[in-house]
């Protein structure tokens, strides 16, 4: 008998396999049953049966609904039994889309189980043919605490992510290719697939939407860059001052700044927002002090508002960087500083040639993550200005300090333009992905995750 000692992959399991292996592509778990893992095999078979029952009772209809997103609009229809016209409930595109997505996700899950059952059956065959021990069901369960611990510990997170993150996300991504806007609200109206129309109107039409999108995108970038780097350098300088020689009560100083971090962001933002109002305490005080003659429109005039949000973000963000940088500063080898000092380097040169390069090297991934985080910094904008000041130049609802994310939120919450919101979401994804790819190429810590082990 000629046994091959090479493991078979997904295709060769079928081509080279015996009748059981081949049949287990149709009847899941057959190979497991044949080679002694009866319970496991039956479980696979049961799961397959469940899926097939689901598919043929409801699944097919759900998937078919995805193609049309509903055909019967709600309206007056003729009831032949009663012989009168009456209001008839129509299809609800939103529910059809949602249940369709659920059917797709269930199918994906089953596909995963199917693949798993095949490889599991092949393993059983391999072990059996080579005279190894074939685990029985109890041993399989026990292996969950050891070599198969990833199934045990990842089960809950994966299920949670599938239901509460993955499914809604697919639903929302699909929505970007429909016309589910404020004029197509189910159940009164149906919406339909429109392919890439939303992207076209948003990116390159002469309509107001496109005239809103590009300035908002521009401000998102300006904001992201200013917010990130101001906090980065501010925090670094602050940490260096606190950690420098001759400053007593380092812990006291650190605590003063850390207090702002301990306060939930929405509270401090909301408080500062009310302080910056036209009759808020800042305006009251600066007039009292004789700094200006009239109230400053901190949050109500576009350019002032933009500077204000960056400054307030600075107030909130600097302590975070300060804490992080404090930790890294202590890791910089002291010999570097000593030798630099002996060579007669001034404090500025030491910063430029030692501290900063080291810091930049260590914190590049953090910096990029922070940049992406700031592009999506919903709370800093929403709690402070609410995106305002509003302007007639923009599509309804968008204001001069709106970022893409806050605009996205407004489109779903206020104007019900779900398709546009989804489209913007995908565009944000593309931006974030680009920056993440750059990080991947640049940073050693992501490539070499075992560097410290």
């Amino acid at each position: 008998m000629d046994r091959e000692y090479k493991r078979r992959n997904f295709i060769t399991t079928f081509t080279k396999g015996n009748i059981f292996s081949k049949l287990s592509y149709v009847f899941c778990g057959l190979a497991n049953i044949r080679y002694g893992q009866v319970t496991k095999g039956l479980l696979f078979l049961l799961l397959e049966a469940c899926y097939l029952i689901f598919l043929f009772t409801t699944g097919v209809n759900l998937l078919r609904g995805l193609a049309t997103l509903g055909e019967h609009e709600q309206g007056m229809g003729y009831n032949e039994a009663l012989g009168i016209y009456e209001m008839q409930a129509g299809d609800n595109s939103m529910i059809i889309l949602l249940t369709g997505v659920v059917a797709i996700v269930v199918t994906i899950c089953f596909a995963a189980i199917w693949l798993f059952s095949i490889s599991s059956g092949e393993n059983a065959r391999f072990n059996h043919d080579h005279g190894h021990h074939v685990n029985n069901f109890i041993e399989d369960v026990k292996s969950l605490t050891n070599e198969n611990i990833h199934f045990l510990l990842l089960a809950i997170p994966v299920v949670g992510l599938l239901i509460f993150t993955f499914t809604p996300l697919i639903y929302m991504i699909l929505m970007a290719f429909t016309n589910y806007d404020n004029e197509h609200q189910p159940p009164g109206h149906l919406f339909d697939w429109v392919a890439l129309d939303n992207f076209k109107t948003l990116l390159m039409s002469s309509e107001k939407l496109s005239q809103t999108f590009w300035p908002v995108l521009g401000w998102t970038f300006i904001w992201g860059i200013f917010a990130t780097f101001s906090c980065y350098f501010g925090g670094m300088i602050l940490a260096m001052i606190i950690n420098s020689k001759g400053i007593e009560f380092k812990k006291f100083w650190r605590t003063i700044f850390v207090v702002t971090m301990g306060i939930p962001a929405f509270i401090s933002l909301k408080v500062v927002g009310t302080m910056l109002g036209e009759k808020g305490i800042f305006n009251v005080l600066i007039q009292k002090w004789g700094w200006t003659a009239s109230a400053v429109p901190f949050l109500t005039q576009a350019n002032y508002a933009r500077v204000s949000v960056i400054l307030v973000n600075f107030w909130i963000g600097v302590p975070v960087t300060m804490l992080m940088v404090s930790g890294i500063l202590m890791n910089i080898p002291a010999e570097l500083y000593e030798s630099a000092r002996i060579d007669g380097a001034s404090p500025f040169v030491i910063f430029r040639k030692i501290t900063f390069p080291y810091m930049l090297f260590v914190t590049t991934p953090y910096l990029i993550a922070n940049l992406i985080g700031n592009f999506n910094n919903f709370s800093a904008i929403y709690f402070l200005t609410g995106g305002g000041p509003m302007t007639l130049d923009y599509y309804k609802g968008a204001g001069k300090t709106d970022l893409l994310v806050t605009w996205l939120y407004k489109l779903t919450a206020d104007t019900n333009d779900y398709n546009l919101a989804a489209t913007i979401g995908i565009l944000i994804f593309i931006i974030s992905a680009t920056f993440t790819l750059i990080t991947f190429q640049r940073s050693g810590s992501m490539k070499n995750e075992e560097g410290f082990q």
Binding site: T145, N146, E147, I149, H150, L152, L153, L154, I156, P157, G160, I163, T165, F166, T167, P168, L169, Y171, M172, L238, I242, S244, I247, W253, T255, F257, V258, V259, G262, I263, P264, I267, S268, K270, V271, T274, I281, V284, K288, G290, T292, M324, V362, S379, F383, V405, Y409, T412, Y418, A421, G425, I428, F429, A433, G444, S445, E450, G451, F452, Q453
Partner: protein, 420 residues
């Protein structure tokens, strides 16, 4: 030029400090008031304020700024002639106060000049150049004297920044204690202090703050336990074990994470409605826990720094992977656990968007974030502002204390994960 060497002093700064103090003194004799008031110098302005019928109480800022500048000059002359550590230290303290009072003039000058009838509608930018030179000279003198006395100049920056950072916090504290209701008040310090705002917060039928607080506490505590366990488990698997599909799993998580989080909230809301979970705080906990695995990065980074040899030794001793996780990895990760718990706890108090969407108008389910935001709506802000401030204080104080107490772990957790 006498180049004295005194231990404990950097005498090369002596001359600069001395010149700065002289300039500061000279500025007292330069035009101080605005052109409308005849560009009088500081001394004659002082005389006018002194002789005014109803000069403001804070006029002593002006007197002290001028007086201490003169004292500083005298001390400067003495320390220039007879340099010593003690005299320089005294000089520095005098200059610290002089600079302090010069700085307060930035805020108080308008009041002082207007109350004593010297100026009308005074604006700071119209002040004479003597004022600005005096202000700048006082800071320069302070810097040079501190350098002379080998004291870190960073204290000046830290003090100024510290005041700026504390200002909004002080304001919200004072507002929460303010007896006068309303949002628009024209002064910083309350006229009457009271604890009534705190009492009202918990005894107002329109604002069930106690219920909100309890809701948030439940969400926060459950979240701390569930989310931390899930994150630790996920991070452990991704960091310490190798299995097929691991890289792909991490990539999928990363891709999902790049979509803005609340893009999917509408769909999520519909799903929860379908499951009959909407408008309950249980949904908030479940959704929070379900998405927790996405935040595994920092914890994984921390686990990556634990030497693999420890695991290998345990395996040789016959430990299972689960035992390694519970008996070795977790006890070694105190700081990252604290970091994670703290982050989740804080997050529960500030999470706004999803609870807002989830609870709609059902006030009894609100968390404090949604509730406090509701109170600062423009229609309600005037009647609830002091209570809002009290609510903010009630939430912030325990968290701040917790945070200050545990900040060491926070730093360790963060710096363990960031590496080159």
């Amino acid at each position: 030029m006498n180049n004295k060497i005194v231990i404990g002093l950097k005498t090369e700064y002596l001359l600069r400090a001395f010149i700065a103090v002289v300039i500061g003194f000279a500025s007292i004799l330069l035009p101080f008031t605005s052109a409308d008031a005849g560009r009088k110098n500081m001394l004659s302005t002082m005389m006018n304020v002194l002789s005014a019928d109803n000069s403001a109480k804070i006029s002593f800022f002006l007197y002290l700024a001028a007086a201490l500048t003169i004292v500083s000059l005298v001390l400067g002359v003495i320390s220039y002639l007879k340099t010593g550590v003690k005299i320089v230290k005294a000089w520095m303290f005098v200059q610290i106060f002089a600079t302090f009072f010069w700085t307060t003039l930035l805020f108080a000058l308008k009041l002082i000049l207007e109350e004593s009838g010297i100026e009308d509608n005074f604006l700071l930018k119209n002040a004479g150049f003597g004022f600005w030179i005096g202000l700048a000279a006082s800071y320069c003198s302070l810097v040079f004297i501190m350098k002379l006395a080998e004291v870190n100049v960073g204290y000046i920056v830290l003090t100024i920044l510290g005041v700026m950072w504390m200002f909004p916090i002080l304001w919200i504290l004072l507002t929460s204690l303010r007896a006068e209701q309303g949002y628009y008040v024209g002064y910083f310090f309350p006229k009457h202090l009271t604890l009534k705002n705190f009492y009202d917060l918990f005894h107002n039928s329109a604002v069930p703050f106690g219920k909100w607080w309890l809701n948030t506490m439940i969400v926060a505590v459950c979240g701390c336990v569930l989310n931390t366990l899930i994150v630790l488990g996920t991070a452990f698997i991704l960091s310490r074990t190798r299995f097929s599909g691991r890289k792909q799993f991490m990539n999928i998580l990363m891709i999902i994470g790049m979509f803005p989080g609340f893009m999917s909230m509408v769909a999520l809301y519909n799903i929860l409605k379908g499951l009959g979970l909407n408008q309950s705080i249980g949904a908030l906990i479940v959704v929070g826990a379900a998405g927790a695995a996405m935040g595994y990065h920092i914890t994984k980074g921390y686990f990556d720094t634990i030497p693999k040899a420890i695991d290998e030794a345990a395996i040789i001793d016959g430990a299972s992977r689960l035992q390694i996780f519970t008996r070795i990895t977790i006890p070694l990760s105190k700081s990252i656990i604290v970091y994670q718990v703290l982050g989740t706890f804080l997050g529960a108090w500030s999470d706004y968007i999803f609870p807002r969407l989830l609870f709609g108008d059902r006030q009894s389910s609100y968390t404090v974030a949604v509730g406090l935001f509701w109170m600062t709506d423009f229609r309600r802000i005037d009647s609830y502002y002091t209570q809002f401030a009290a609510g903010a204080v009630v939430i912030a104080v325990p968290i701040v204390i917790l945070f200050i107490w545990l900040q060491r772990f926070y730093v360790e957790g963060l710096s363990g994960s960031v590496k080159g």
